[in-house]
């Protein structure tokens, strides 16, 4: 435990990526045959491992632990330099010294989800039964499976109740699953830009991405790892399409408009004439350097299956009946992937359960991605919510 030092960034190569899968540049919790992970599909996954990072110190009462849940393509490197890309942590706007989630006050934990490719067991890991990469033999996982695995990690760290569970997008789904599955273990929950179920439109976008991966001849029915190749092109297209859904028309227009890329006139070709094309191509190609194609299939599938109400007889409020967790729900005006109406439905259900809930919609034109960007109003709200919850929890949030 304790602070994790920034990790130096090696040059990117395919070997480095697969190295992170088995030997992550972070802490790892191993779970042997005596502790299988019971999956929703009925399979016991064993053995398995969870890669995680921690920041700050656990206090004497073990009451200041904050679990950060990452989004679809995130990982455990929330507030340190990424070991593969060399870029800053993916949520350093929210997590870090002087930020709303400050390691000075909280013991911060972030783990790679089960099914991921940055060190937690997933389709890119080695199947101990065969000695080969799992590929499509890996069982299909769900958001509740991810949360079950996280709960095992929290047990392993000797923490009974988390002070807060925080996440956006797929991370927000995990936050909600935590409160539905372990209400007594979550003192406060900050659910950002998320929903209690994945909409038909969002499933459709995910299917588009998966079909792009599967259409790449290098995918080989998911068995590319044995051939030492990776369906880069398909995965890049999937990422490009998904990336559009994370932005907004207004944001794209403000950032790129119809401006040309390093040229004055159209080339009358299919070259990336427009800046927006060049940007998307960059997003696609940089993504494939750090992400496994099969992992992308599994994690998008997990989001598709997510529907808390369905797990509670179709009545969302039942999922939160009698809950004492303090909630803060945040949405963004221009987010059309997880629009405010989804957050509002959640808030209505929480109200119906008489839960203590704050709900703020933040005005921004930056789309779904706003939760990862520098949006001061969002930080003010997050900070105030956690401070108020900290007071109720009896945490000392003064400088120490």
């Amino acid at each position: 435990m304790g602070s994790v030092k920034p990790i130096p960034s090696p040059a990117i190569s395919a070997d480095e990526r697969s190295h992170e899968v088995d030997h992550p540049s972070s802490l790892v919790a191993h779970f042997g045959p005596e502790q299988p992970l019971r999956l929703d599909c009925g399979i016991d996954l064993s053995p398995f491992q969870i890669a995680y990072q921690t920041y700050g110190e656990l206090n004497a009462d073990r009451s200041n632990a904050v679990l950060i849940c990452h989004a679809l393509t995130g990982d455990q490197h929330v507030a340190n330099v990424h070991p593969v890309t060399g870029k800053p942590g993916w949520w350093e706007t929210l997590v870090g010294p002087g930020r709303p989630i400050d390691p000075k006050h909280y013991f911060i934990i972030c783990s790679n989800v089960i099914g991921g490719c940055m060190g937690s067991t997933g389709p890119a890991s080695i199947n101990p039964a065969t000695g080969k990469v799992w590929g499509l033999d890996f069982p299909v996982i769900t958001i509740p499976d991810m949360v079950r695995a996280q709960a095992m990690l929290i047990d392993r760290l000797g923490i009974d109740t988390l002070f807060a569970v925080v996440g956006g997008s797929m991370g927000g789904m995990q936050v909600l699953q935590w409160t539905a599955a372990y209400p007594e273990r979550v003192f406060s929950a900050l659910a950002i830009a998320c929903a209690t179920r994945h909409s038909a439109q969002n499933i459709a976008f995910h299917e588009l991405g998966r079909q792009a991966v599967m259409a790449d001849p290098d995918w080989h029915g998911g068995g590319y790892a044995d051939r030492g190749i990776h369906p880069h092109r398909g995965l890049a297209v999937a990422r490009m399409a998904a990336h559009i859904t994370y932005l907004s028309d207004a944001a794209l227009h403000r950032k790129f408009g119809r401006r040309m890329q390093d040229r004055e006139l159209p080339t009358f070709s299919f070259d990336a004439d427009f800046q927006v094309e060049s940007y998307l191509r960059y997003q696609g190609s940089s993504f494939v350097e750090r992400f496994d194609a099969n992992s992308y299939l599994y994690l998008t599938r997990a989001m598709d299956y997510f529907d808390i109400a369905a797990d509670h007889g179709g009545v969302l409020a039942k999922a939160f009946a009698g809950i004492r967790t303090r909630f803060c729900v945040v949405s963004f005006t221009s987010d059309w992937l997880f629009p405010t109406s989804e957050s509002r439905a959640l808030v209505h259900a929480l109200n119906a359960s008489s839960a203590r809930v704050s709900f703020a919609e933040i005005e921004t034109d930056r789309g779904h991605d706003a939760f990862l960007l520098d949006v001061p109003e969002f930080f003010d709200i997050s900070r105030a919510f956690l401070q108020s919850a900290g007071k109720a929890r009896g945490l000392s949030l003064e400088d120490r």
Binding site: V347, N351, F385
Partner: protein
């Protein structure tokens, strides 16, 4: 029930204090410590903050995004919502008190809202500007224009207040929907209670606002 039967609140000191509004202090006095309260139309959360200092578990609904965000940034449990459309989502008896402070006149269906308040809460506390206040009457009678005051400065064409009423009107509505008035106070222009020994029409004339503690009436 008639206006004369309304029992005024006894012994409430409501001189305006530096930090909190007189009507907020009066409302806070009506809430028993340790209870659970929903403030509908909570604005910037001033009343909720006052209630929290008294150990009351307060929640809020506010229509304006700016108001909500300011409340949440103060650490208050406030959600964005509309009194007219969102109260239906709350279960029966969810709160000990539901407060509607200076908001009734801005709702589209005051009667339905009032009924919802007393479904969600075992008691309701409602305050509103009294349109029977002498200054209002004078502006209409002598000035011949829609009244505007310091507290209600908006013009008729841009005001959010679409359902003004007088204290008398409100008492009649409570009667009509079988709501019991447990306590009632009229505050004058300076936030002081109108003396209790004066007849009811004085209230309706000199009360700048009315504050009522309501509960469900028995019988039909």
């Amino acid at each position: 029930m008639s206006v004369q039967e309304v029992l005024p609140l006894n012994g409430v000191a409501t001189a305006p204090s530096g930090q909190f509004r007189a009507d907020h202090l009066l409302v806070a006095e009506m809430v028993k410590p340790g209870s659970k309260v929903l403030d509908v139309g909570c604005g910037d959360g001033d009343l909720l903050q006052l209630l929290e200092t008294r150990g009351i578990d307060g929640r809020g609904i506010e229509l304006s995004r700016e108001g909500v965000n300011r409340c949440v940034a103060k650490g208050l449990a406030v959600v964005q919502g509309d009194a007219d459309t969102d109260l239906v989502n709350y279960p029966d008896d969810a709160f000990d008190y539901v407060i509607l402070s200076q908001t009734l006149q801005a709702t589209r269906q005051p009667k339905v809202v009032l009924e919802n308040l007393l479904r969600i809460g075992r008691r309701a506390i409602v305050s509103f500007p009294n349109f029977g206040f002498w200054k209002m009457r004078l502006q209409l009678l002598i000035g011949g224009h829609m009244p505007r005051t310091e507290n209600l400065p908006a013009t008729w064409y841009d005001t959010a207040n679409i359902h003004f009423c007088t204290i008398k009107d409100f008492v009649q509505l409570c009667d009509e929907i079988n709501v019991k008035m447990e306590r009632s106070v009229a505050l004058d222009l300076y936030g002081r209670p109108v003396p209790l020994n004066l007849p009811w029409w004085v209230w309706n004339m000199f009360g700048e606002q009315g504050v009522f503690l309501l509960s469900r009436g028995g019988g039909t």
